[in-house]
Symmetry: C2
Subunit: 419 residues, 2 copies
Amino acid sequence: MMDQIQATIITIGDELLIGQVIDTNSAYIAQKLNSIGVQVHQRIAVGDEAKSITNALDRAIQSSQVVLITGGLGPTADDITKPLLNRYFGGKMVLDQPTLDHITYIFEQVHKRPMIERNRKQAEVPDVCEVLFNQTGTAPGMLFKKNNSLIFSLPGVPHEMQWLTNEKVLPIILERLKLGVIAHRTLLTAGVGESFLAESIQAFETNLPDNIKLAYLPSYGMVRLRLTGKSDDAASLNSQLDTLFELLKEQVKEHLVTDKDETIEVVVGRLLKAQNHTVSTAESCTGGYIGHLLSKHAGSSTFFTGSIVSYDNRIKTEFLDVPTSILKTVGAVSKEAVEQMALAIRSKMNTDFGISVSGIMGPSGQTDEKPLGMVWIGVANKEKVVSKVFYLRFDRQKNIEVTANQAINLLRLLIINKI
Amino acid sequence: MMDQIQATIITIGDELLIGQVIDTNSAYIAQKLNSIGVQVHQRIAVGDEAKSITNALDRAIQSSQVVLITGGLGPTADDITKPLLNRYFGGKMVLDQPTLDHITYIFEQVHKRPMIERNRKQAEVPDVCEVLFNQTGTAPGMLFKKNNSLIFSLPGVPHEMQWLTNEKVLPIILERLKLGVIAHRTLLTAGVGESFLAESIQAFETNLPDNIKLAYLPSYGMVRLRLTGKSDDAASLNSQLDTLFELLKEQVKEHLVTDKDETIEVVVGRLLKAQNHTVSTAESCTGGYIGHLLSKHAGSSTFFTGSIVSYDNRIKTEFLDVPTSILKTVGAVSKEAVEQMALAIRSKMNTDFGISVSGIMGPSGQTDEKPLGMVWIGVANKEKVVSKVFYLRFDRQKNIEVTANQAINLLRLLIINKI
């Protein structure tokens, strides 16, 4: 097999090293590089400090034909990347006129306020780089070459970095490097633990050819399986992967949610759209997070109608007709309460389906009968209402996320008549 | 100054390199290490591949007295870390009885199902490590020593990694290494751009002593400023930082939201709790995300009552009394609509404050008069209703997040009588 093109991603910024900011840029870039067959073999995060950045660059260029640097290009004084790259590659700073014109335009026409010296400085670039014009912001991207490596430097602002990656970086890599191929197939399962899943497909995994790997990725109380293949030839790799993927799907069919790399709310949104059906949610412990998941993707207004978040028990009674007798006897975290909530929201918002949740997300609020992490989930359609209890063992934030995902999965099971 | 203890974080997992999973573990560990004065000077992410892991270990041990490895310790076959560490440190695998007892207990008493061979294997550890007993899961942590470095290996499951970090890793580091001190002061500003903020405090920044750094961190349309100081002596460093921080707060006082490292919803939650006041939300384009932010922290039930998510315009009329005449003339994304929504939710849920939002989050839905990213936000108390329009330029997901944060900030301004 031909050698895979190897890439290193370097992210720069003290905020990444003290943990104040989570690095989502690296994941985005890695995904995009993978999609064109470039394998990211390491990611390095370093602080705003010349020696660390220089060391990371040395190592990256030694081991990788593609190096992507992000962060450290904003207008403020903690940004030292550009002058450092200039010294590293032995250039001198020159003004890039298209970038200056663009910055001037943004300030005069968009922000409608005067440009300050700091902003003008963003148009200066090392004369040894190819400027990657940035349509979406004031800091340009830059491309340097050293030995056999292409070194891209991109701003850290996510939407600017994303635009430059798609419009400049990927086309340049595709054009200038001869690429091997990497491809993935991903499916999502629900209702089965990682260990048991692994046990049940052990033979399949053991018999995989050398160029194919299987990975298990936990996903909000469900498990994703991913096959990754490498080859010189896209057509034969895809056909090989397709065959194995069919086999894998067959083996896990009882638990299969989707055979695409997508989230549960996207699956359910598609099911609802296909049937021209709508859904509303009655949420307690998730505080609106289920509504957020259902509406975060474009096009959700065709199936998501709305929610009532009844965080206070008073709202459960006043807006969702949960009798105070239920709240007083079995309580808000009960089968009785969530079934009433699911029926009420469906009826009041006049939707085909209703979802409800009520639980104890932690870190306190438990009783002798109701432990931390106990959550009741209900779903209703015009024929019936179904509810299920879960016992989660994560922290508050994760319990909320898992509850929302499990609620949407329970709706899926109702839609496809599995409950 | 004494040398700072340097740390490297190594995260292992193909999923990190193909961008399928975002690495939140590193941020958590970095924060914790920083809090005890250990400086993370690099983070390395590598795939499930022996050579890359070995290289990363070599480099980390060369440059760092503390090395933290996470990931790659789950029960499935893509996990190669433990045997690799065993070879790397020249050990042989032995059974750790306390861990086996714990695993057996979890399966018999908690899961109430038989333990399989894969699970039993998790109790095997290299005889050259100190086992870090994991109360919260089946995979133990491990501590190795080489040259002058402590090398910790932790499971990748976030709540297990977090427990082991707090209960085992930090106490061991504090006990065995003589630590220098690093400390931070963070504040949050709103209503001013990064460039203009930087311009206005340029003199302050230029005059900072060498051991103090200032960083600018964008945060959902607001800007965080962070001072970081290093020293041998905690008392003198803290006094130095306190003085500078007071100076900085004075310079940005017009835009100051909080002088703690906390999010806007925590600030507003505290303000509401202090006054014994409550809030409800009427959300359109955010789909429940504001309710989620207000309720994601423990203790929010004292001030957050609930929400109506009126994603469909019909719900705006039926549940929030927005007249169809408004929807037909000025539309749902208008001053008139959000002001009515804020008044209605406050009155219907009987809360002290109401928040409302309606906007065009993208990627489509714009008209000639109403561009993508246009969003109206309203807030009401018993005396008045105030609304403001924003024009956001991010992608859909980010637009939703910024809208929610700006809405909560507008509520803050109403609470403190600044609007």
